[in-house]
């Protein structure tokens, strides 16, 4: 890398990082103002029927009697120390709850995004290269169904079909059969932990419980990847440099490699975005399958008028989204040098 391109890199990265920080600050500030607007926070924490003294005491403890700017600083300070408040119905610090629930959502999201990416790329490539084939037309048709169907309804129908009628998947009550004891806790991912502990029963049970939720997520999300890959590959195939590569006798595999690198930046960004969505917006799926993750936690909190967890998860979602977008962007410039020249 010569001196000039290093300077370009530095400029590009620093600009992106600064933007990221600005967005994060904005988001946390908005979250702060939202919390101050949700009815009266005191009443939410303590109930509105208490005596004046208790309300006043609560107010002092929550720092609500101090001026707004001071509250803001206390808020930011707490945030940086990982203090997100206390959940009203679990009586735990929110941060602890989040740490406990995160692996469940993460496992579901990770398994899904891997399958989505692989499936989307393969289908997109095949459909683009062999346009008139049966697979191409079928993939197009299936993807239009995948985007239109409501994931929660699909999940319910599949449960009905495969649990009630066919009895080949377990009941939708969580990540693992209740009679199986998994004590190992290395990563929080049941798939990995059970393998590491040599507990094959646990592994098989986890897989079974993952099948249906993962299928629904894959079915409803793959179409987006597929469509992008399809349209990008079609465009690249028409380009001059692919024609030239063929003219020089390069093998098909080499040409596929060429095509893949060309579509990689936008593909990577889309996958990153979808991954962020899967992590933070899977509430409906978690509800249907009683999956003990972040989404279910947020839902229960909301139903109990407990706003700390909800705000925290919203914050987390925004952070995750921006972080992943930033990562995808950074990798894109490594792959395609034109990406950074705006």
């Amino acid at each position: 890398m010569n001196k000039n391109s290093f300077r370009n890199w530095f400029r590009f990265l620093s600009r992106r990082i600064i933007l990221l920080l600005i967005v994060l600050i904005l988001i946390t500030s908005i979250a702060f103002f939202v919390t101050r607007f949700i009815g009266s926070p005191v009443y939410l924490m303590v109930g509105s029927q208490r005596s004046e003294e208790i309300i006043e005491a609560a107010r002092q403890e929550l720092n609500l009697d101090k001026p707004l700017s001071v509250q803001y600083f206390i808020y930011i300070n707490d945030l940086l120390h990982g203090d997100l408040g206390i959940s009203r119905f679990t009586y735990n610090p929110v941060i602890d709850d989040l740490k406990r629930k995160l692996p469940a959502t993460l496992e579901l999201a990770t398994v899904s995004i891997i399958l989505i990416s692989i499936l989307g790329i393969i289908l997109g490539f095949t459909a683009a290269v062999k346009r008139e084939s049966f697979l191409g037309k079928f993939a197009n048709w299936i993807s239009s169904i995948g985007v239109s169907v409501a994931p929660f309804w699909l999940a319910l129908m599949l449960i009905f079909l495969f649990y009630f009628i066919f009895r080949i998947v377990p009941a939708p009550i969580g990540r693992i059969d209740s009679n199986i004891n998994l004590t190992a806790h290395y990563s929080g991912f049941y798939l990995i932990d059970s393998l590491l502990a040599g507990n094959i029963d646990a592994f098989i049970s986890s897989v079974y419980h993952l099948i249906l939720p993962v299928f629904v997520l894959v079915f409803t999300t793959t179409p987006y990847i597929f469509k992008l890959v399809y349209s990008d590959v079609v465009e690249v195939l028409r380009s001059n440099y692919i024609q030239n590569a063929r003219a020089f006798g390069l093998k098909k595999i080499t040409i596929y490699r060429y095509i893949l690198k060309n579509i990689a930046p936008s593909l990577l960004t889309l996958i990153a975005l979808n991954f962020a969505v899967l992590i933070s917006a899977d509430i409906v799926i978690e509800k249907v399958f009683s999956w003990p993750g972040l989404g279910l936690y947020a839902l229960n909190a909301m139903n109990n008028s407990d706003y700390c967890p909800v705000i925290s998860i919203a914050l987390l979602a925004a952070i995750v989204y921006n972080l992943l977008y930033f990562l995808a962007d950074t990798f894109s410039i490594i792959i395609d040098p034109r990406w950074g020249l705006e």
């Binding site: 006798g249 690198k261 395609d336 034109r338």
Partner: protein, 318 residues
């Protein structure tokens, strides 16, 4: 020694309701060390003829009949895999727009090396050496540093050099250049042609230059084949074509060229015939000043008028 022979090649393009006749029985011989120019208007079939050799035709193109004999084998009968081995290694073809012909996400060194690795072995270090060497041969400035450059950092002329380097990397026996200078500045045009001629000077490569610009062709080629509406109407050395052309179309072309030099505009009246209609007579008949009766009814066969001079015209077939 004949390197490649095209025998009676007929090519159609299948449209929804009718066939478009592109080539009507092309006969062409390319020898080792030839500098052959293929001239004609747009749509005369020059590109299609050369593309048929390497079988890089559009999906709807159909070869109706004919052979392309290379090294005692008919290329038209080869499978796609076999052709992949020939392209870039034995026969190289380069096209018009150089900058868009390079993959924007790979440095040029890698793109050139990929061709070496494809055809000549897996040694990456050797590939890099050969890449730097070929870049030097095409007068690319600072070859060992430039291998890391990306296509969008290059100018049009530089990109064209890279394409030429890629084409000559594996020392092919036949190099076909399809309008390599169209769209470039005039000064760059001459540079590119001089470069190609320079690089192939010491080798055995046969070179075919396709162009509608007869000026470039006369400068670069020793032999010229003139095409009209899918037929080859005349073949001769450059001198013969310029001074002793026989076919009325060739004469018209040369006249246009010479008047450009003399700054007066000449033209050939009429326009090219529609390609969907099957023409029973000579395709140039409607625009020909010396057309005879037989020209309407019968297609003229190509006859050898003198040494290194063939023409397909009824006027001269006796």
């Amino acid at each position: 020694m004949a390197l490649l022979k095209i025998e009676d090649l007929k090519l159609d393009i299948e449209n929804s309701n009718q066939n478009i006749h592109i080539l009507h029985g092309i006969n062409l011989v390319i020898n080792e060390r030839d500098r052959l120019g293929l001239v004609g208007e747009s749509g005369s079939g020059k590109t299609m003829t050369m593309r048929t050799i390497v079988q890089l035709l559009p999906k709807k193109a159909k070869i109706m009949s004919g052979k392309v004999i290379y090294q005692n084998q008919n290329l038209l009968e080869k499978t796609e895999k076999e052709m992949e081995n020939i392209r870039g290694r034995e026969i190289s073809i380069i096209f018009q727009d150089a900058t868009s012909a390079l993959n924007p996400v790979y440095p040029i060194g890698k793109q050139i090396s990929d061709i070496y690795l494809r055809h000549k072995g897996r040694d990456k270090r050797k590939a890099l050496e050969e890449t730097v060497d070929i870049l030097r041969r095409v007068s690319f400035p600072k070859p060992s540093e430039s291998v890391k450059a990306f296509p969008h950092e290059l100018s049009g002329g530089m990109s064209q050099r890279v394409i030429i380097a890629m084409a000559l990397m594996c020392s092919p026996k036949l190099l076909i250049a399809d309008e390599p200078t169209t769209g470039l500045d005039v000064t760059i045009q001459n540079q590119v042609i001089d470069l190609i001629l320079d690089v192939i000077k010491e080798t055995d490569v046969a070179f075919v230059l396709i162009s509608h610009d007869i000026g470039i062709v006369t400068k670069a080629c020793s032999k010229i084949a003139v095409m009209y509406a899918g037929h080859i109407v005349e073949i001769g050395t450059t001198r013969i074509i310029l001074e002793k052309a026989l076919h009325p179309y060739t004469k018209g072309l040369v006249r246009c060229y010479k008047t450009i030099l003399g700054k007066r505009m000449a033209y050939i009246r009429g326009s090219t015939p529609e390609l969907t209609k099957t023409i029973s007579g000579c395709p140039f008949e409607s625009r020909c000043d010396v057309a005879m009766d037989i020209c309407k009814r019968q297609k003229p066969k190509s006859i050898q008028f003198e040494k290194e001079h063939w023409v397909a015209c009824h006027k001269w077939s006796n």
